[in-house]
Amino acid sequence: MTPNTHSSLSDSLAALAPGDRRLIRSLFIAALAALALGLLLGLWVALARAGWARPDLPETGYRLLTLHGVAVFFDWLTLAQAGLLLVLAAQERKAPLSLAWMGWAGLVVMLVAFVLHLLGTVWGNPLLYDGSPELVAEASQGALLFYSGYGALALGLVLLALPGLATLVKARKAGSGSWSALGFGAFAWAGLLLVSAIALANTFLPAILWAAGWGGMPADHATLWHLLFHNMHYLPLLGTMLAWYLLLPELTGARSIFGSGFSKLVFCLYLVFVPPTSLYHMFLEPGLDPMVLVLGSLLSLFIGVPTIAAFLVVMTSLEAHGRARGARGGLGWLKALDWSQTATHSLAAAVINLALGGVLAFVLIQEKLAGLLSDTFFVPGYFHFMTLGVVTLSLLTVAERIAPALGGRGGSVAWARYLPWLITLGLFLFGVAGVVAGSQGMPRRVLDASYEGLAPTSWVLLSWIIGIGALLMALGLGLMVARIGAAYLGFGPKALAAEQPQAALEELALKQGAWGASLAVALLLTLITAATWGAFALMRSLPVIAIGGAGH
């Protein structure tokens, strides 16, 4: 028998120093503020595309789009991940954090970064979040502020990662000389945070120097941005896996039945496969060797291996525990979950969004489809499933779950359980319409995709559906952020003491025919195949033949 010896998250957070809890709470409050801002700006952009909100000046629209990207992709995700890292470190250490002062310094630097981004965007030309120096023109003072925002962000990342790393090293030393799977995963993930800081500096330091008049124009900003972006979007996916590992025992009592060594290997493989998969962002870049394109597609598939493995570990463990506790029938283990908890709904929605986003992701990594889909609305149609539907929902679930233990409130309210599904419905409309529009060539990053009536009429209709989806997403997410934010600020119903779920007998769990996750993966692979086939069929139906000319 293996009783659930895992100390509850609340106990681990209670073992922190009061200042540590204030730090984590502050990080999540700042993160939620960034998310709320980014959400409003994103909604405005979607409404503008639908023709329901138009700026007086196009610059204004693109400034708002720039801040949407920065606030959500960089500020919200960085601050929330920093909070998650400290929670993971606390769970492993069960004692006060090390180097907590660095975390406070990191938070201050992140706020400075946000202000710099804001000022740079308002004063300079709108550059969107990739900040291409080609678009700076004469507005170099604004660009200097904007680029300095990224410099501060790099410093903030380092400062926020170090307390987590130091605490985890201490935890290992104080423990049995090795980490739990979660501890190892958190440490490796924090390492990737530091690499992302290096990538930020690598991309924006030349731009800072150039904008300040101390260096030449950055020669290869686009390629460096691709690398940074690659790091920054795989980083939260690993963080999400860790969040699931953290939350599932809390919610269900189920722990991995595959052993910590296996999970550590899965986390390690994830990091091993991040660098070679970066090539697919560059498929449309002129001048790439054709073999690099082929190689990029082939290597990109490998990132799916640890992702699917982590999914199988989590879900099969969950199902096996459910069956061991008496769940019967194909879906009995799902019904047996505690659906009175908002967190259960959020994570279930996240799993569905992961499947939808995953199907589309594996279409995008095929280099021959890049000329059909890249730079179109297919891309935001796909990545909102991942960044919002998977990553953001998971991070919000962590934030919600720990709010009471950090001195906030966060009592359960029935209506909150519907919010993840409202968000998912909005995402579905946004994503599916976006993917269809993208397949037809509708570009991303434009405020008016009607092209004064020259574009296909379907683009207008699809933009409306995207706008409706964005509205629903924003409503659900806004209410969720408001509720969690209120809990952190001490408003809302008081939380009852969390009941620790019972663990199943592991010996019994191991004997269960827990096929649900495996079947889900089989279905996913079938859908990926169908989507890939569909994209090729569409490409071949076009009345055009285009072949890369002979490069010199």
Partner: protein
Amino acid sequence: MSQDVLLLGLISAVWAVLALAYALVPMLNMPGSALIWGSGAGLFLGLALWVRRG
């Protein structure tokens, strides 16, 4: 050597090989990639040593 240290070392080693490939294979020719993954390899090596020394 513990599994933790070995796995961190593995990440470092694979990244180092990739950094060399990005730097030296003419077809790739991506010095920016080489710099980032090379730095990352050094970083993970440092982390592995930190963990080993405790």
